[in-house]
């Protein structure tokens, strides 16, 4: 992956090397190395000890011991993941829930972003601020706010019953519907912001030209606006989908006992069952599932940056 070093115009000074080295070192130590450790522990055995796993290898014991310990590594935890259908059902249902939520978020978010981009220029900074503000507000609080709304004796049921639309309270909390609502609500700003950015840059004269040539507005939308806003749509969908797959707080607080999501399964495996090797294996597989969308997302971001820069 390394790009060739182009001959620098002037020799890099010590200071500029330090500038690179400090954040590089921090991220390598606290982001990259931890993944290697997760991978290592996913190959070891659970043990009744503190920490609760047998070390997979100990580098201080020398090369010979290292080679011996390699032979002791086992894929047992991964075999276990395939045998118990809880795990693959969790993975599958996480991906499905995240994909459906992403699609709903797009349906809800597109009109908002479109309305913002078409609003008078004087309104736009305020509207932008209004979209960003919930992003600054605690995730936990925003999920919690929905419990009071969705529960059986909650505000939504009270409203619907007082309007006479329903006679029995609807059970929404602790179902997958509540999880969808929670994900759409929490991740909406992530989708609206990149979408708004690409819609705002759209050249209005193209739409005027289409209109002058007799193109009806909805057709102009399909043929001009939507294709040109596609980079924003893609970026926004990635920003919703990827974190939603591993979401823990929303399925835990809004979902029911039969809501399977892998983030929750990992949490339970780690905190309740204290099975560190299996939860590491769950994390490794989750990462493998997400690697493809993450790389696609990064490539797209880089392309957009190069075009703008």
């Amino acid at each position: 992956m390394d790009e060739p070093v182009t001959p620098p115009s002037k020799k890099r000074s010590l200071g500029s090397w330090a500038l690179i080295a400090v954040p590089y070192f921090w991220l390598a130590l606290f982001f990259l190395v931890p993944f290697l450790i997760v991978f290592k522990i996913s190959l070891s055995q659970i043990a009744v000890a503190i920490p609760p796993y047998t070390p997979a290898f100990d580098l201080s014991a020398g090369w010979q011991a290292f080679r011996e310990s390699l032979s002791e590594l086992s894929l047992e935890n991964y075999v276990w993941l395939t045998e118990d259908d809880l795990y693959w059902k969790s993975y599958l249902s996480s991906v499905i829930i995240a994909a459906v939520s992403t699609f709903i978020t797009l349906l809800v978010g597109y009109p908002i972003a479109y309305g913002m981009a078409r609003s008078p220029a004087a309104w736009r900074p305020t509207l932008l601020m209004l979209v960003i503000l919930p992003f600054w507000t605690s995730f936990l609080i925003r999920v919690y706010a929905w419990i009071g709304i969705l529960k059986n004796e909650g505000l939504l049921n009270q409203l619907l019953m007082s309007l006479g639309l329903i006679s029995e309270p609807l059970t929404i909390l602790n179902t997958n519907i509540a999880v969808y609502i929670g994900i759409v609500y929490s991740y909406l700003p992530f989708l609206v912001l990149p979408l708004y950015a690409s819609l705002e840059r759209l050249d209005g004269s193209l739409l005027e030209a289409a209109e002058d040539l007799g193109c009806p507005p909805w057709q102009a939308f399909w043929k001009i606006t939507l294709p040109l806003s596609l980079p924003g749509v893609i970026a926004g969908c990635f920003l919703v989908f990827i974190p939603a797959v591993g979401e823990f707080v929303i399925p835990d607080l809004l979902g029911g006992s039969n809501t399977l999501m892998i983030g929750k399964t990992l949490w339970v495996e780690f905190f309740n069952n204290r099975d560190w090797p299996v939860s590491s294996a769950v994390a490794v597989i989750l990462l493998l599932i997400l690697v493809v969308p993450i790389i696609l997302f990064q490539n797209q971001q880089q392309k957009m940056q190069e075009r703008d820069g």
């Binding site: 992956m1 790009e3 060739p4 070093v5 182009t6 620098p8 000074s13 200071g15 500029s16 500038l19 690179i20 400090v22 954040p23 590089y24 921090w26 982001f31 190395v33 931890p34 450790i37 997760v38 809800v108 009109p111 908002i112 309305g115 913002m116 078409r118 008078p120 509207l127 503000l133 919930p134 600054w136 507000t137 605690s138 995730f139 936990l140 609080i141 925003r142 919690y144 706010a145 929905w146 009071g148 505000l155 609500y185 909406l188 990827i242 591993g246 823990f248 607080l253 983030g263 780690f270 905190f271 560190w276 590491s280 994390a283 989750l286 997400l290 997302f297 990064q298 703008d308 820069g309």
Partner: protein
Amino acid sequence: MTRGPTWFNLTSLVLGFSFLYLPIVLLVIYSFNESRLVTVWGGFSTKWYAALLENDQLLDAAWVTLRVAFVSASVATVLGTMAALVLVRSGRFRGRSLFSGMIFAPLVMPEVILGLSLLLLFVAMDQARGFWTVMIAHTTFAMCYVAVVVQSRLVGFDKSVEEAAEDLGCPPVKTFFLITLPIILPGVIAGWMLAFTLSLDDLVIASFTTGPGATTLPMKIYSQVRLGVTPEINAVCTILVAFVTVGVIAASIVSKRQQVQRERDERAAFGAEG
């Protein structure tokens, strides 16, 4: 588009923003509810706020959270600004792809993975867990957000001012503090605030990396939420929301004023030249 907003656009904006804000508004309203039943209105009261002041556990957790957020946001701002400078200014170097990958990946990485992996690192390092481990964990993911915010500021930046300073013999570090930093300052401040609120909000990563004596406010709120909705939690949440809202609005007003001032200065400088 110079025409006024159409009915369709106006409706989607009103519905969209109601969806975004209604749950929080309801939460705030019901924090002033006299009744203990959260969803039945029993009259206006501030008693739940008074009750908070006597809840020592909650106050302790709030104090820990503020300390963690302050230290981690400050370290993350320094590291994140350095990382942004590297991304924008250092050109190509060996391992650049890995570097930008490590900046962007934590932005979308599920929190359970970040939390678990950092915990296992601290265990492998035989590090006692508590305030400092949460601080390091928060710094690590927050610096990536800071880097992205500052980077966007650096990209739209006139490099010629910096080059002029260097041509006149100003050493790079001095150039940074005298020229670059003042120009990117709004981005740096926004980055710090983002890092601060991210740390203030985080439940998952803190739960993995914390130890005895370092329970943060979100962890406290979470353990109470699992037992049900109570007006006290509504009151805590209202205070947090108010705190963040005032901070964000104040910061945006300050940065706007600075920008107007700078534009005026620039115009004055060009006017003097001509």
